[in-house]
């Protein structure tokens, strides 16, 4: 299996790290794969640039960070400015239309998705933005099955919020498929 190296980036409080953890956990617990997730963030609770690295593979992973991601997701302008140059040639760059204005030429497939807009129109609650992004990622790629992610959502999300999270995931998958 080809090794998947992903970088999730954005602003603190957007749920970037949670989304990365859910994806990696789905791969490990439900698809019998090996994954490592690390994060780097500032000392503040909200705001500040946040980044989480995920590697998914079928063989042992030693160095746990990602230098050149196959997939880079940027949910803030600051994250885009900072990280878009590190993308692996031929990789995939996913940005959100509301938060990021793209201006750099990168040697990668670029997908600008209206994720935030879709979440606000269809659900009305920004807290599931991260899960919609995760759905879009699954829709665009096939690293992990959506059923595996849903199994993880059931264990991690409080029951009162499960429905809107599942809805956000489905919205994201649809969006991802449309932009494939």
């Amino acid at each position: 299996m080809e090794r998947h190296r992903l970088v999730f980036s954005g602003s603190g409080g957007q749920g970037i790290i949670t989304a990365a953890v859910i994806l990696a956990e789905a791969a490990v617990l439900h698809e019998n794969l090996i994954a490592v997730q690390t994060q780097s963030y500032g000392a503040e609770a909200r705001g500040g640039a946040t980044r989480s690295d995920v590697i998914i593979s079928d063989s042992a992973i030693y160095f746990p960070k990602v230098n050149q991601p196959n997939v880079l997701i940027c949910l803030s302008q600051e994250a885009y400015n900072k990280f878009s140059p590190i993308i692996r040639p031929g990789g995939l760059l996913i940005t959100d239309t509301r938060y990021v204005k793209t201006y750099m030429k990168v040697d990668a497939r670029q997908r600008e998705l209206p994720m935030y807009q879709t979440v606000m129109e269809k659900i009305g609650k920004p807290i599931v933005f991260n899960i919609c992004m995760l759905g879009a990622l699954i829709g665009l790629t096939d690293f992990v099955k959506s059923e595996s992610v849903k199994k993880v959502l059931k264990t991690r999300i409080p029951s009162d919020f499960l429905e809107i999270n599942e809805k956000a995931l489905d919205l994201g998958i649809k969006l991802g498929n449309a932009y494939k």
């Binding site: 490990v28 617990l29 994954a35 690390t38 994060q39 780097s40 963030y41 500032g42 160095f63 230098n67």
Partner: protein, 382 residues
């Protein structure tokens, strides 16, 4: 799905391992990057009848677990560099009073309050010599979650065996990283339980008179025996003494019980050492980058090997000497200015052939950082 398969942070693995050994008392004060240890203890301990206390600071945290340990509990506290500095006084007390306990230091970047959310390995010497006076100490570390579990269990076992504080020196990357782990079943790893005295109530009990095998049985404080516990130099009854013979005997006992068992305490892993021309020596999260380089270069037929130290103190002198005997070069990979490097240089015949690959900027050392040093050594330039 395997029930024992988990995808969790290193800090959480440390908690699971501590509970596996039967830990039932934890006191601490939150500090990045060790906070998750405290959070998970707070969640887990009350459910299994244990006690969790959030203290006013790290000084009180270590003092609280020392007291709890004396009354017969398995105990732990967790902190990072700044808190570990505050603990040094009580750490010395626990060493001299011979109180088993485990102290976790999840290292952050930099000195003083440093860079809380970044990584470093700068507390290696502090763990060894942070508290004043002659003493020996056991300091252990690990680089992946399966090992974090095993080493944490080991730490509790050694604390009981040698009646001493044991320091688990993890770092931000291992503490915060998530990866898979299989939690061992009950009984899969053997545990060392508290050695209690067989002396009956009403019979003179000497709290500081070791058995012939060197082990020191304990009587739960507040139980059937009355005795004194002090940080002052003390006799076999635990009472202060300035008798030179007793002072000499106590220092020798505290140092020898650990130094003389260096080989038994040494935990390590080795990769491709049998024919290695260049040996990397590393520990903690830095060993992951070192192993990455070794696996890659072995794939190309280069004779590179890795010695991963899991026991840092007492330093496994003869082990390092033996493993590095035939190596042309030795490269120590660590995230400080060379704290283990010095110990390695003492062990080898040709210290001028020991090099350092390090990072001290709060950034996790990469395989490229190590490769650059290897290229320099091989005379290829950067």
């Amino acid at each position: 799905m395997n029930e024992n398969l988990k995808f969790i942070q290193g800090n959480e693995v440390c908690v699971e391992a501590a509970l596996y050994t039967g830990l039932d008392f934890f006191a601490g004060y939150p500090i990045t990057p060790s906070t998750e240890i405290m959070e998970h203890m707070a969640k887990r301990l009350p459910k299994i009848g244990g006690k969790f206390l959030q203290m006013e600071d790290e000084i009180a945290s270590l003092c609280a677990i020392i007291g709890a340990s004396l009354t017969g509990h398995k105990v732990m506290t967790a902190t990072s560099g700044p808190g570990f500095s505050l603990m040094q006084e009580a750490l010395g007390y626990a060493i001299v009073a011979e109180i088993p306990c485990v102290i976790v230091n999840v290292q952050r970047g930099g000195s003083s309050t440093g860079i809380p959310t970044h990584v470093g390995q700068g507390d290696v010497m502090q763990a060894r010599w942070g508290t004043h006076g002659d003493h020996a100490i056991i300091v252990m570390t690990a680089s992946n979650h399966q090992d974090v579990f095993a080493i944490t269990v080991d730490a509790f076992n050694m604390a009981e065996t040698y009646r001493t504080p044991v320091i688990l020196l993890f770092d931000e990357v291992v503490g915060h990283m998530r990866e898979r782990i299989f939690i061992p079943k009950k009984g899969e790893i053997s545990l060392v339980e508290r050695l209690r005295t067989s002396v009956k109530r009403g019979v003179d009990f000497h709290p500081y008179l070791p058995r012939e095998d060197g082990r020191l049985p304990i009587s739960d404080f507040g139980g059937v025996h009355r005795y004194n516990v002090t940080g002052l130099v003390h006799d076999m009854w635990g009472f202060p003494s300035d008798n030179p013979k007793i002072a000499y005997g106590l220092v020798r006992h505290l140092v020898d019980k650990i130094q003389n068992n260096t080989d038994k305490i040494a935990r390590y892993k080795e990769y491709y050492l049998e024919d290695a021309k260049t040996i990397l020596i590393s520990y903690g999260s830095a060993a992951r980058s070192a192993l990455h380089v070794v696996e890659n270069r072995r794939g190309r037929g280069e004779k590179l090997g890795l010695l991963e130290l899991q026991t840092l103190w007492p330093f496994p002198h003869s082990l390092v000497q033996e493993k590095c005997a035939d190596a042309k070069y030795v490269v120590v990979v660590e995230m400080n200015t060379g704290q283990i490097l010095q110990s390695v240089k003492i062990c080898v015949d040709r210290p001028e052939r020991v090099f350092l690959a390090n990072r001290i900027d709060g950034v996790f050392i990469t395989p490229t950082d190590i490769r650059n040093i290897l290229r320099l050594i091989e005379g290829k330039g950067v």
